[in-house]
């Protein structure tokens, strides 16, 4: 074979220096792009997951909160009712105390019926005057309607029945 040159020919490569430079540059660029893209993809996925978790947690808390508030409301109702009951018992005790304090020593009670809106007293009085001044007068100041009836006893004393009522409508109006 005939030679036209004194130096040996170099094999030509497609990866010339310029091409290598270009590919390196783009490789770095693409690497950065894909890295950023992967980061964003991962983060968006992670955000979605966290958001779902937060929403679920909030729902759970809302359910629990509803239960807590219902429990609080129920205890408040119980508390209010208990206060009402305790007050009623205390008022009743005071009413009974006042009733027995109201009876003068000269009058003897044989029976007392305390009703929702009234009071019926049975007893013995030496005479009508003592009954009228010492028992009926204070009863009249407390009750709206007072009725009395007397039955004579053999020893001259009088057996009495005193029926006293508070009119509900009037008591509501007064309040």
């Amino acid at each position: 074979m005939m030679k036209y040159s004194y130096i040996a020919p170099k094999r030509k490569s497609i990866l010339t220096e310029e091409m290598q430079l270009l590919l390196t540059f783009f490789a770095i660029t693409l690497f950065m792009l894909f890295t950023t893209f992967s980061f964003l993809l991962y983060k968006n996925y992670s955000f979605n997951k966290d958001k779902a978790m937060v929403i679920k947690e909030k729902q759970r808390l809302e359910e629990s909160m509803g239960k807590l508030q219902a429990d609080i409301a129920f205890i408040e109702v119980q508390k209010a009712l208990s206060e009402r009951v305790y007050t009623k018992n205390t008022v009743l005790k005071e009413s009974i105390t006042n009733l027995f304090d109201l009876i003068p020593t000269r009058i003897t009670l044989s029976r007392a019926e305390l009703l929702e809106n009234g009071l019926i007293l049975y007893g013995i009085t030496p005479n009508k005057d003592i009954y009228n001044f010492m028992l009926q007068a204070p009863l009249r100041s407390i009750f709206h309607r007072t009725y009395s009836s007397f039955y004579a006893q053999e020893n001259g004393w009088l057996r009495f029945v005193s029926t006293n009522y508070i009119d509900k409508e009037e008591s509501i109006d007064e309040n």
């Binding site: 010339t16 310029e18 091409m19 270009l22 783009f26 660029t29 693409l30 792009l33 950023t36 893209f37 964003l40 993809l41 983060k43 968006n44 955000f47 979605n48 966290d50 958001k51 937060v54 929403i55 947690e57 909030k58 808390l61 809302e62 629990s64 909160m65 807590l68 508030q69 429990d71 609080i72 129920f74 205890i75 408040e76 109702v77 119980q78 508390k79 009712l81 208990s82 009951v85 305790y86 009623k88 018992n89 205390t90 009743l92 005790k93 009974i96 105390t97 027995f100 009670l109 044989s110 029976r111 007392a112 019926e113 305390l114 009703l115 929702e116």
Partner: protein, 185 residues
């Protein structure tokens, strides 16, 4: 004038151009929308997390309030939960009476989430003071009891015979109602 560009350079330019276009398209078409989405989601998550934190605080405060209420009103809550037991009631309160008898326990009605039982009692007391003491004791008893009208006091020699009604309140649930009625029997 002839521009002499080698084939090598043409390939180089074409490759550069395609890669450049790819970078542009990828950046504007995919990367930037993804970035926007990332930013929106980050802000959204931050907001949701803040809301959740605030809600958790509120939840803790409410739980604490409930806890405080429960501990302050323990006796009331227990009283409403308790099923009325006539024998135990008689045993607990017989010290105030010469005799005490629970005659009958009847279911009355349901009012505001509470079942109400009516209890009729008869008793004998030596003086009204004992009845006052009983009324004080009722407010500290194991059940939610309201002493109710009619109350009847009748002299019987040295003693006073008394009969009165009581309303027992308890939480309205079927088990409680069943238990109470069975005990009443």
């Amino acid at each position: 004038m002839k521009i002499n560009i080698s084939r090598q350079h043409i390939y180089l330019m074409a490759l550069s151009f395609f890669l450049f276009i790819f970078v542009l398209v990828f950046s504007f078409g995919v990367l930037i929308p993804q970035g926007k989405e990332y930013r929106i989601k980050r802000v959204e998550l931050k907001k949701l997390s803040k809301e959740l934190r605030a809600y958790k605080n509120l939840h803790s405060e409410t739980a604490q309030t409930l806890q405080d209420l429960r501990s302050k009103n323990r006796s009331i809550i227990t009283a409403f939960d308790a099923t009325f037991n006539p024998e135990r009631f008689e045993k607990q309160n017989k010290q105030y009476f010469s005799s005490l008898k629970v005659k009958e326990v009847d279911f009355s009605k349901v009012e505001d989430q509470f079942a109400i039982y009516e209890v009729n009692t008869t008793s004998e007391i030596s003086s009204p003071t004992n009845f006052y003491k009983f009324l004080d004791a009722v407010n500290k008893s194991d059940w939610m009891i309201e002493v109710n009208f009619p109350i009847d006091f009748k002299r019987d020699g040295e003693m006073i015979k008394s009969s009165f009604k009581m309303k027992v309140y308890c939480n309205n649930n079927d088990t409680n109602a069943t238990a109470s009625s069975s005990e009443a029997k």
